[in-house]
Amino acid sequence: MPKVTIDGHTIEVPDGTTILQAARMIMDKGEGNGENIAPPTMCYYSKLKTSGGYCRTCIVKVSKGSEKDPRPMPKPVASCRTNVMDGMEVQNITSPELLEARKGVVEFLLINHPLDCPICDQAGECHLQDLGYEHGLAKTRYDFKRRTFNLIDIGPYIKLHMTRCIMCFRCIKVADQITNHRYQGMLFRGDASEISTYIEKAIDNDFSGNVIDVCPVGALTDRTFRFKSRVWFTKPMDAHRNCTKCSGKVALWLKDNEVLRVTSRKDKWGEAEEWICNECRFEKKDIKDWVIEGPRHIDRHSVISANHYESLAQLKLDIGKQQKQLNGKS
């Protein structure tokens, strides 16, 4: 079992673990001294094979290659795609020049992004927003026209807004690995490249909706939810139903008793815990379809992180339970 030290925290990990996974393990163990030493990720997704390596936000500095070959690596490496070697020493937030390089990557991701957060459904749970707050500049240095694309409907449920896309390739991997047929891909090249369902072919598949969950920005949005509400005005609830296609375990986003949106449950790294089917996601918008388990804690640091609804929702549930008990007694 190789031992790796990331920003001064040493951990022993199984063979084949990447630097990023090791950093997340350190954070999961509650170490890190209150600092987040797990590199940010925009394209890596632990549930998707061959994801990662593209966005370059997770780059780290390897100051010691391994016990056998202690030479430092000459360039920053993508932590999501680099395996840990025994004795490796990695610098993430402790290296100023690395943070500077990451700042550059964030700037590159933002120069052609429309920054239309005020009208974007993803705002409030957007990974690019988080990344911008943490690593970005307050002002842009880019004063040219930004690239734009036309909106594309991918079937009746999904809207593709390429202008916002940061080319993380997660949706392509979903289409490749989770759905039966690959309809998505990349067209053109360089900064003209775009994600496309070739000749705008609708993705007709029970699990196609998961592309919305994996999208780190607002490039793929749920047409049944578009412009219904800001996410921070909705209340996430864990809920489930008996579904023949998927586990049926979802997060409902409620406004009063109205189900505005159904998504998969996301873990603390913003990744779906389980893929859910389109029927659960798009068609079960009645609260009676679901068994509510309770309020969902959102482990994220953007505007919905305050969980301001959480205590209130819990209170309501508790009152409900007490009332039921009282009713049962009388």
Binding site: Y54, R56, F108, I111, M167, R189, G190, D191
Partner: protein, 439 residues
């Protein structure tokens, strides 16, 4: 006259035919290797020769070959990188066009050394007519028993194919080349794994430049030790240089590594001096990606020693005062050249050729092009120079493949050595707008 090992026969009539090529000593290395040497011995000779990759990176070929994984029962491949797309480089085209059998011979000998039953020549789309020449040569070789089953009556069988690409610069990057060869979109792979472990179709693969493979023939013929005597230090043998720009005699030259840069530019044997007797302004020594150097630094190092045409001498001083031998695309600028306009041409090229996979290169190359365009149009801002510097610094080293570095280095070196010219463009656009671009 320096020794020539690769293109010494290029003026012989009909040297592109197998008959004439064999009359001039062709395929001797195949005879020697297959009949008298073990594959390990061939690799050993190449190691001894000190041959370094001629495609640009200059990695020792023998070492690259010895890294090739050899799991039993798994196919191994040799792939020849004939996707010569570096601006300013045309040496491989010259070699393949004039003496196609030199490459085929190298392919057979190298494949024997590596134990590859199949090899591919991946050639860029723009060289379609060269692909035809190669295909004719391969047919001739099959007919003569030099390719196919039991070559020259030995146990070694080998097939060689030519694959034409669609003409993307990025497909010269070895993993993008392999993706393209497999029929996929030519995007560089994320390494590791390196091709020596998992390359073409997931099998161990060696990717070598055309000139590297062709150089294996003289190495086997004369012996690695003898080959290593040519050149200086770790730069052994001969190298093809594509000379272009403001010189009297542009063309492909074979040089012994180690001749002074000054001799290469001014002697009648090579470039023949600057055109119209003008003054030398700057040189891009190894294809558009390498740093541009002003006349005083290309002729002499910052220590005042004459700069030589070797991997080490050209890179002496790092990128502060040095450059790279690269692929040997030697572009000479005279005093009328506008470095800024020329840089814009390069920046436009890299922007156009970026594959779009990773963010720094996809976004940064376009941004640099736009700023440079603004500057040469006379709308530059004083802050643009520092901005350009900062962008290139944030692209370099942070990308998946070296295209990001290739796009950043010319910008960095132009600003480092010709900052005054940028300032002139920005402060007095009217005075300088007629400056002539070279390409």
């Amino acid at each position: 006259m320096g020794r020539k090992l690769l293109i010494h026969n290029d003026k012989v009539p009909n040297i592109h035919t197998l008959e004439v090529y064999r009359q001039n000593g062709g395929y001797a290395s195949v005879e020697k290797a297959l009949k008298t040497m073990t594959p390990e011995a061939v690799v050993e000779e190449v190691k001894k020769s000190g041959l370094r990759g001629r495609g640009g990176a200059g990695f020792p070929t023998g070492m690259k070959w010895s890294f090739l994984a050899k799991p039993p029962g798994v196919e191994r491949y040799l792939v020849c990188n004939a996707d010569e797309s570096e601006p300013g480089t045309f040496k491989d085209r010259y070699l393949m066009e004039k003496i196609p059998h030199a490459l085929i011979e190298g392919m057979i000998t190298s494949s024997y050394a590596l134990g590859a039953k199949t090899s591919y020549i991946y050639i860029r789309g723009e060289y379609f007519y060269v692909a035809r020449i190669l295909e004719t040569a391969i047919e001739e070789a099959y007919a003569a028993g030099l390719l196919g089953k039991n070559i020259l009556g030995t146990d070694f069988s080998h097939d060689c194919y030519v694959q034409v690409g669609a003409g993307a610069y990025i497909c010269g990057e070895e993993t993008a080349l392999l993706e393209s060869l497999e029929g996929k979109r030519g995007n560089p792979r994320i390494k590791p794994p390196f091709p020596a472990i998992a390359g073409l179709y997931g099998c161990p693969t060696v990717v070598n430049n055309v000139e590297t493979i062709a150089a294996v023939c003289p190495i086997i013929n004369m012996g690695g030790d003898e080959y290593a005597k040519i050149g200086i230090g770790r730069s052994t043998g001969t190298k093809l240089i594509s000379a272009s720009g403001h010189i009297n005699k542009p063309g492909t030259y074979e040089i012994e590594l180690g001749i002074p840069v000054e001799e290469f530019i001014y002697s009648d044997e090579y470039c023949g001096g600057i055109i119209n007797g003008r003054k030398l302004k700057a040189v891009v020594a190894g294809g558009s990606s390498v740093p541009v150097l002003p006349a005083e630094l290309i002729l002499k190092t910052d220590k005042g020693e004459p700069r030589l045409m070797t991997y080490e001498s050209l890179s002496e001083g790092g990128f502060i005062s040095g450059t790279m031998l690269g692929s040997g695309g030697f572009i000479v600028y005279d005093e009328t050249t506008s470095i800024v306009k020329n840089l814009y041409t390069f920046a436009r090229f890299y922007h156009h050729e970026s594959c779009g996979q990773c963010s720094p290169c996809r976004e940064g190359t376009g941004w640099m092009e736009k700023i440079l365009h603004r500057i040469i149009e006379g709308h530059g801002k004083p802050s643009d120079i520092d901005l350009l510097w900062d962008i290139q610094r944030k692209i370099e080293g942070n990308t998946i493949c070296p295209l990001g570095d290739a796009a950043a280095w010319p910008v960095a070196s132009a600003i480092r050595h010709f900052r005054k010219e940028f300032e002139a463009y920005i402060n007095h656009p009217e005075k300088i707008k007629d400056a002539m671009p070279i390409i």
